[in-house]
Symmetry: C2
């Protein structure tokens, strides 16, 4: 056993001898490792400050990824380094920390019959003779019937057929021939893509088996052009060049993921024939390069709702030359293809029982219904949940307090990556507000009660100390004020008003609600009991609440694998009644009543 | 009556007072006049050298097209000038002469119901509101139903609709939206294109009226890469770059014609929405950039037979950004879309009566049949008819002897543009051989008889003097040898064997043949009686022979204006029985018997 001290966190723990990356991971420390510990990416740099231990020799991979000077200063790649001995102090440079919480792997893999748009056929064609000199295309129609063919492929068709000596594998996307390979080729892949406003998640899917063979994610580089969606739309709408820049940024990021996934899974990019993309309406428009301006201004109108398919080449996606990029349909300007993916994977549109899907994010999308009727709405919850208006609110990044318990007046909390706390994120706030209420610190309206506790400071304004100065990264206490709690309760009220209005429109109350699916990463980490207590979620028994996990990419994968799912979703979006909350007559009164705990 | 002397030709003739361009045309003098006599192109410059006559005042159009100095020197535009008086000597500058025989204007304008692929609709859309914020595309489907939309246009759709304040003209190609204009726009044009191996002919067609508003032609610049088709295929097949070069050459030439036609007719290029292209299989493949190699080697297989439609942008054609380029289908490697156009315009596929369409060119395509059955074949006649293997054979250019009569032992001939003779072209050879035979100079096999005439030279080899040394441009006699006549009879035999075999396959003889359509420019200038005499055409009464004229571009225009015609032609090419002469058992014996006059 080695005793390891991590700096600058100051965390001390014991570990078995072994690989440092493994040791750090097991200790819950998020370290960047894009290549998955193969010594390729060079991202898992650490510095050995002092040690009473022995380390493995500097490897070839380390020499490639570290400078002479770094090596002299004690830099290593964690993935390349094994440790054995008594103790070591290890410094983790800022750039080696994985700042974004890792994507949640969990999602329901709905059982579907494979019926992909992409099909591959190996055929032996009759060679032309003087007695039978039908053109090449017509020769193929003898087997395949009439089909479409892109000009680019038609141009090369004669050569390809003859070079293959008329034994070819033909790849079709629906009824369009998109590739001709020499001889027999069965490898057939697709890409499921969820473009989130902060994260892009891709699954490389084997079309033959329906299995994900590799997955990866990348921060959405559009963040550089605006943290929130509205500022990206504003940027993109300023000029066609700006729009192109944002389009290229996201496409480049996906191409980067594709390259990595193909390498990991040993798949050729040319064997990826279709990408199925989901995302909210703005992400969708920006990805395809469609003017997004009018989504973000009243009356919030996207350019198109139905699912589209365009050539990968036109979009710039680095897959098979004649490959296709498709999207699931949208429901409305603020209920995007990601919400449709949520419907696909939860199957709410096919069930008798009344279910609700809640995807809490920058916008919270809520779907309510069953096979007979579906309602959808969107509420802007993001800023509060992402801590925008709170003194110590932060996103779900390393060091964010993500869960809180108050036990006998003492605060117990956890932080992401077990770092020293830097602030409090959405899931932490849910817990905190619920715990403050349960423990009699605040009333239903979030006002502090007169209560004896050294955690409460009443001047200059009433605040509750979540983490004391000595515990935090920056040496000052992390506090929550009445104003913060109020902001949070308003955001909660927006969501609650959303599902209350949907339930009222449906003519039901909580007792009739048979299921809640919590979609998205946020839902994955929520304390459901606390969420119910504060009124963020309808009050139904816990066994009726399901963490659906990363549903968006899962729904994209379903659509990738099944044309039936796509058809189903086109029908669903026709059927969904989109409820524009801002025009609902009694929205305001419902909202007001939704504020208290 | 004015007596006019033309220089440098030296021709003198009498004409009624009137417009000079008209007078020159009636006298058979080919003068350039690209704008059709509107005073726009400035191509019909002439010089009035001396005159005992009065001319119209210098017009505005002449001041625009002529320099001060030219006007002082007596230059006029023929189209702008009327003459009345006794006599005039007029000089025709070289640049005003039409060097390539002008395209034949004559073609049957078959009556068709307008049913174009392109349709324009002016619509006022409901503006989106919060209560009705359907996406833009779906808003359009309320009027048009589901339709396709290219990504490029979808990208701009939101802006275009709002800039037009929701009052737009939508242009559809079939079910694809290809353009959105602000407000009401009715202008709607298409382009009919015949890509010949030596000449490209375009008609700019008003889709609303079905009328040609401007036409033009240009030499096919691929000539620079090979006079004959096979050498172009050889060049193109050497590398993808070569193929691209040939593709670009013909596209550039068409773009040049488009620019000119648009200027002449005051039409914006963006208002041309579709181009319908015909041409033989090699021209078709080269235009679309499809590998043409296998058309020219046994078993002569094109890449595709059916009519295709691709985006103008992908091909590089300079019309509406989202415009479409279509082609009529081919029949076989040597019976191309131009032959299909011939069928369309003659209507042989719809009639009870048995008709034959003969299009004499580099290859001669022959169609025989009626609504019940259609046969097609192709024979390589070109080289001989274009004079390739004859000592004084030339193409149908200025100075070519294009008709011949032998009257009482004297030779009377005409030349193209009335220039001094430089050689003899195909139509001239038909006449010459027929006249030599009728006047007892040669026997059925083309051998010179022992006949007293100063026109016959027997040494070193027997030759007939068509034009004496003093008459020709180069001061030497133009003669035709037994070898030349033999070459010509072989070419004739190839054509005759073609239609004989078709007739035999159809089970008919000449007496059952109810119509012959002579297609193409060549057919326009043939002396039918002589052609029948030598066996080039079946021997049927002259009233049953029709000059169909420039049928290819006419057929393209029909297809441009009618989807029904396109459907019809797809069915026709399925039905046509292509007869590959080289595999017909008795082709050789039929051919041998077809040689004698």
């Amino acid at each position: 056993m080695v005793s390891i001290r991590l700096e600058p966190i100051g965390k001390v723990f014991k570990a078995d001898d072994g690989n440092l990356l493994e040791i750090l991971r097991q200790a819950g420390v998020s370290i960047r490792s894009d290549c998955g510990g193969k010594g390729i990416c060079g991202k898992c740099k650490i510095v050995i400050v002092e040690a009473n231990a022995t380390f493995s020799e500097i490897s070839e991979a380390e020499r490639k990824n570290l400078t002479e000077e770094e090596i002299k200063s004690g830099y290593r790649l964690a993935c390349q380094t094994t440790i054995s001995g008594k103790s070591a102090t290890i410094f983790i440079p800022k750039e080696s920390k994985a700042e974004v919480r890792k994507i949640s792997d969990l999602y329901r893999e709905a059982k579907i019959e494979l019926k992909p748009a992409i099909r591959k056929f190996f055929v032996k064609l009759q060679k032309p003779t003087l007695a039978d000199n039908s053109p090449d295309y017509e020769r193929l129609t003898r087997i395949f019937g009439e089909f479409e063919i892109p000009l680019e492929l038609l141009r090369k068709l004669p050569k390809k057929l003859r070079e293959a000596d008329w034994e070819i594998t033909a790849t079709f996307w629906k009824n369009t021939l998109i590739d001709i390979e020499k001889g027999k080729s069965e490898e057939c892949y697709g890409l499921a893509v969820d473009i989130g406003s902060s994260k892009i998640v891709c699954h490389l899917v084997d079309i033959n088996s329906g299995k994900t063979v590799a997955k990866g994610y990348e921060e959405n580089p559009q963040v550089a052009y605006g943290e929130d969606i509205v500022s990206r739309v504003t940027y993109a709408s300023k000029s066609p060049e700006n729009l192109k820049k944002l389009q290229k940024a996201v496409v480049d990021a996906i191409n980067g993921i594709i390259a990595k996934l193909c390498k990991d899974a040993k798949v050729e990019k040319e064997r990826i024939y279709e990408a199925m993309v989901v995302g909210n309406a703005v992400m969708h428009h920006l990805f395809f390069g469609i003017e997004p301006k009018y989504i973000s201004v009243s009356p919030f109108t996207p350019a198109i709702r139905k699912g589209v398919s365009f050539s990968a080449k036109e979009i710039g996606l680095d897959i098979c030359k004649q490959g296709v990029v498709s999207s699931l349909p949208l429901i409305a300007g603020f209920v995007g293809a990601d919400a449709v993916a949520n419907i696909a994977i939860t199957g709410v549109h096919k069930e008798d029982k009344l279910s609700m899907v809640i995807d809490i994010g920058t916008n919270t999308e809520i779907i309510l219904g069953n096979k007979d009727r579906l309602l959808a709405c969107s509420t802007p919850s993001g800023p509060a949940f992402e801590g925008a208006h709170m003194a110590y609110g932060i996103k779900a990044v390393s060091g964010a307090i993500d869960s809180v318990r108050i036990v006998e007046g003492n605060v117990e909390y956890s932080t992401i990556d077990n770092e020293k706390p830097k602030g409090i994120c959405g899931t932490g706030m849910i817990d905190l507000v619920a715990e403050l209420y349960k423990n009699g610190f605040i009333n239903r309206y979030g006002k502090f009660k007169e209560k004896e506790s050294d955690r409460i400071i009443f001047s200059p304004t009433p605040r509750f100390v979540v983490a004391r100065a000595e515990e935090t990264e920056f040496g000052k206490p992390i506090t929550v004020s009445e104003k913060d709690i109020n902001e949070f309760l308003l955001a909660k009220a927006a969501i609650k008003a959303g599902w209350m209005l949907l339930m009222r429109k449906m003519g039901i109350d909580e007792s009739k609600l048979e299921k809640i699916y919590l979609a998205g990463s946020f839902g994955r980490y929520i304390n459901v009991e606390n969420a119910k207590l504060i009124g963020l979620l309808p009050n139904i028994p816990p066994e009726k609440i399901d963490y659906a996990g990363d549903t968006a990419v899962g729904g994209a994968k379903m659509a990738l694998l099944s044309l039936d799912v796509r058809d189903e979703m086109e029908k669903v979006v026709q059927k969904v009644e989109y409820v524009e909350l801002s025009v609902e007559k009694d929205f305001h009164s419902v909202f007001i009543r939704a504020i208290p705990i």
